[in-house]
Symmetry: C2
Subunit: 448 residues, 2 copies
Amino acid sequence: MILAANANAQGSHVGEWRHPTAWDKPASNLENAIRLARIAEAGRFDLLFLADGNGVRNLDKPDLFAATSPSDRPGVFEPVTLLSALAMVTEHVGLVATTTTTYDEPFSVARRFASLDHISKGRAGWNLVTTSNPGDALNFSHEEHVPRDDRYERAGEFAQIVKGLWDSWADDAFPQDKASGRFLDPSKVHALNFRGKHFQVAGPLNAPRPPQGHPVIFSAGQSETGKELSAATADCVFAIEGTIERAQTLYADLKGRLPKYGRSADSLKILSGVTIIAAETEEEAEQLARELDDLVPPAVGLDYLSKMVGVKMSAYPLDGPFPALDFEHVGPTGIGKAIVAKALEQKLTVRETYRAILPQMAGNFFKGSAAQVADLMERWFLEKACDGFMIAAPVVPTGLERFIKLVVPELQRRGLFRTEYSGRTLRDNLGLARPENRFFAQAGRAAE
Amino acid sequence: MILAANANAQGSHVGEWRHPTAWDKPASNLENAIRLARIAEAGRFDLLFLADGNGVRNLDKPDLFAATSPSDRPGVFEPVTLLSALAMVTEHVGLVATTTTTYDEPFSVARRFASLDHISKGRAGWNLVTTSNPGDALNFSHEEHVPRDDRYERAGEFAQIVKGLWDSWADDAFPQDKASGRFLDPSKVHALNFRGKHFQVAGPLNAPRPPQGHPVIFSAGQSETGKELSAATADCVFAIEGTIERAQTLYADLKGRLPKYGRSADSLKILSGVTIIAAETEEEAEQLARELDDLVPPAVGLDYLSKMVGVKMSAYPLDGPFPALDFEHVGPTGIGKAIVAKALEQKLTVRETYRAILPQMAGNFFKGSAAQVADLMERWFLEKACDGFMIAAPVVPTGLERFIKLVVPELQRRGLFRTEYSGRTLRDNLGLARPENRFFAQAGRAAE
């Protein structure tokens, strides 16, 4: 089982930064990031994962600044620079950063992740995303956001180029022989000369091949184009589903797309996003969950709910029944429809509805004693809903510490999770092969 | 006197990587970079400086791969990721990385350097350059390189935006008060809404104001537009002149441009690029210089000379007199003309000419005993040729170690250089004020 930690030191639950056990002053706090990385490594986690965005969203709703998802926040580190620093204070844990393909250049992204992979000695990962937020476009000289199809087409070319640039040099291209003066072997370099619709990139990259061959590529899209891009390109998928049945369907769907790209089912790992509140007892976990929800003022809860269903919820009485919204026009995504359906089915009030969605960010939510949480994780894993989990554990850092103290030993006892790191690189730990160089056989000889 | 160390662990002299005392395997070698940073910090240097380029140049001349300038090289780290890692193993030394304005986005650059400044607790610097190399253009979907005037106009807007984004938030914009739930103060954010010819950037930046207010900005251009951009924008200039007279002229020229931007002469520091070979005795220094030149095969020396003067020098006898080239058409820059003039004046052979330019990369070159080198440095400093030096000291690391062991104490005895770090940030150490926020008075109140 793969375990990944959401490494945002501000947490993921809307109200958790206010909890008494949460770290003080979480905005751009390096010491917190270092401590969190060390906690995750002590827990034998596979990797730290940093979400990202390129704009301060909700600028009109200051109460939401500390809320919603980490990528919307105003006081964050640029992920690759942060992970490069964290590489120096950790030894084993993988370091995965989100970087958009919509407003960056493939040569630059290939360079930064190659550099991070060299610095971390093979622990780098790139979460490949496209940026849909219209506000971010305004920070990159675009009048409006790039249309979806363009973004995905661009992302596909982008990934091809980045991988091609990582293969610029054979692994043994740099003999650096003082005696002969032979610094590099000119037969072991390949210029890419990529010419596509969106990009033309000559290459080669000005960095030796990364220790992992290619840093591990993550993707997250669950649309049809997103799933196809993942099957063609990704090593890991970060999936968000609220029920095991839907997660199983997505799992089978994604794995089923691999053969046409000549890939085995094992070559793509699917991590399910989950918020976990684990405690000594079920009651304690429930108590913590209530404390967290109480830290969210109704105005923030309503704003958050409004954003999720795409309807201004402050127009309805807080403690009145959830309104029968026009179902067809609800929500920017399927998440909104799911929330409305649940609220109507369970006859929730507006307040009860926002409290119901706060902890899990509309995703999966495991709460309870160590055994209860381990049971759920084991079931999802064994019943092919996922290959592992991307864990948000409010409150930072106590939630993750408690998970590691209580649940990790339980998973280890059941033989589901490592007791020591065995691999040298992130790929090793994830059970992913080091990619062959597409231009050179492993010995360094040109393949074409 | 300001001292900056060229932090490229491969050195700067064409042949130095082959020297017996040079580090083995210098390409993308993290351990070397860490050791070099610690050496510079032990020597109380103000800062480490990383040159950069975005392409492997001289792909047709493999012998030159380890030669010429660090920005041409194939096996290098991306500078910001490297410095972020080095921030974790140093405490005082400044960390200055080159990033081009030609093929990057101001929002992204503002973010990365803000992040590096937070990670290093106020030790970040950005060397703002434009990219003239046509080969780099081919890595960024450009058919040909961006014309010079466009590049500088773009760089000017770029710098304005980056500084504006660094001022997005008042220094006290994030109270992060758990009790009240007030994460940030919405009156202390300013959206830039920059609309220029090359860029439209809304802002605000998604990072708190950097510890230094603005990371220190370096620039290097010595053309008319380059000098004007430095006077308008830079905190430090990296200047390359071969004689004290020319350096004095440039120094007076640059400082003289400051008043019209409302700046004092002290607010721009000029660092002269210099290659230093210091030894116990003059003879030892001469001997080391000869050893280094002997490590450069004639083919490499000829290639290098050909590049500098823009003429294929292998067409002339190696030990024959330097040819009387058509002076008007020599060299891509003024450097070529200076080399030809010197060779003809001193009646050098072709071999003698390339050996004469190898160590100093056509710039300033100090060689000799500790007292001799300190004398030269003192004279340049006191006679207003510079405010300090950007030092390349072959061989890496022994050249820098010898400089610190021999020359630094001599400079300290003369009262020219610090014996301990006194400042908390790079700006403090350089004697540069922390910039006011253009949108907020220091107390955090909106200034307009």
